[in-house]
Symmetry: C2
Subunit: 220 residues, 2 copies
């Protein structure tokens, strides 16, 4: 059965932005701060390093029932027994990913804007959630497209019923607004991976997400 997943504070790892600390150490600290989901993103390391890292993260996260997702590399996800994959527009078609990973895994897809959503229409049936952004300008992923802002999140919320996780230049201060705009969570790279205290940074996002949800409920 497909594991349930909670997009609220979705940590995306980075092999460079860790201040020299091992990825799994930063993840362990962030998890104590309330991270609800973890994605291994590392476009440059050799496959063997990716598989080894992914296996360590599976061993760490599975006992906590925190879903573990691998970016792009379905081979790495399968070898490590990850809970799912996250696919970008230049990665494999989400339907091929679904076909290979099976119905019991989580498939996420990055969709930056209206054009990419339209281009992905035929694949959306294979997808469990959308990654949407960059919401704000970000230095983490220089090749990311133009920032879509809160309006972009609201537009996407109206355009699809899939769960949405917002990504790109998000800090805790802007998280409640992003939730109110219709996101189901925030995907965070540098603001946690690069934090002096990843647990504290994650806890701030966790609190901000809860505040956003409460504000939304009050507004109803």
């Amino acid at each position: 059965m497909k594991p349930g997943f909670d997009l609220s504070v979705y940590l995306v790892t980075d092999p460079v932005l860790n201040g020299g600390r091992p990825v799994d150490e930063v993840v362990a600290q962030a998890v104590r701060g309330g991270v609800s989901m973890v994605q291994l993103r590392d476009p440059h390391s050799p496959t063997r390093v990716l598989v080894d890292t992914a296996r360590r993260l599976v061993a760490q996260l599975r006992p906590l029932a925190i879903p573990f997702i691998v970016n792009d590399r379905i081979d790495v996800a399968m070898a490590a027994g990850a809970d799912g994959v996250h696919i970008g527009q230049k990665d494999m078609d989400a339907r091929d990913a679904r076909c290979m990973m099976g119905e019991d895994c989580i498939v996420g897809l990055s969709v930056a804007n209206e054009t990419e959503l339209e281009a992905s229409r035929d694949a959306l049936g294979a997808v469990d959630y959308l990654g949407v952004g960059p919401v704000f300008a970000t230095a983490t992923k220089p090749d990311a497209g133009e920032a879509i802002g809160l309006d972009g999140i609201a537009w996407m919320r109206a355009a699809t019923s899939l769960p949405l996780v917002a990504i790109g230049g998000i800090d805790a201060a802007r998280t409640a607004d992003i939730m109110r705009a219709g996101a189901n969570g925030v995907a965070i790279v540098s603001a946690i991976m690069n934090a002096a205290d990843p647990q504290k940074a994650a806890a701030e996002f966790t609190r901000a997400v809860t505040d956003g949800i409460k504000a939304e409920e009050r507004g109803k």
Copy 2:
């Protein structure tokens, strides 16, 4: 059932060394010159490009019963329905590759020297052939190790019963010697991919391999 395979002239593609020509066009010409096996090697292109290229090569090579192998990327091999994968020392463990690809596929492993052969001992049961080299110095793969020469091939021939394909800096003039040293074939990148006439270049290797085999038979 696992497809039979003939390592004799094993073309390894390169996304850069094609003189601007599409990979599948160069492969089509090389195949007319007698290439017996083709590997897609492209460590830098996005996954979607790799899958598209791999699918075009499957469509081209399957009707000719020429085995098609993908370097490193088991996800790409599976998505495209390739005949197998070729694994380097920094790629996934060959046993994991076998596990994911199944018994009916071809798994090749690169082994440069005695140290790497020893390090791979436990995985050799999962492997169908070894890629051995660089035999000679090569500019194609600057991170390849020290050239092992004809002696290295002869050493490897004595050390394992697996079929061997020699790689690295090989031209047609040296091919017969490599076959006599104990290789079952030669893996060629630039001497075919970068040739003005890939069909002619492949035909020269095909002839040289046959000469090497004949010379070996005369010597027996």
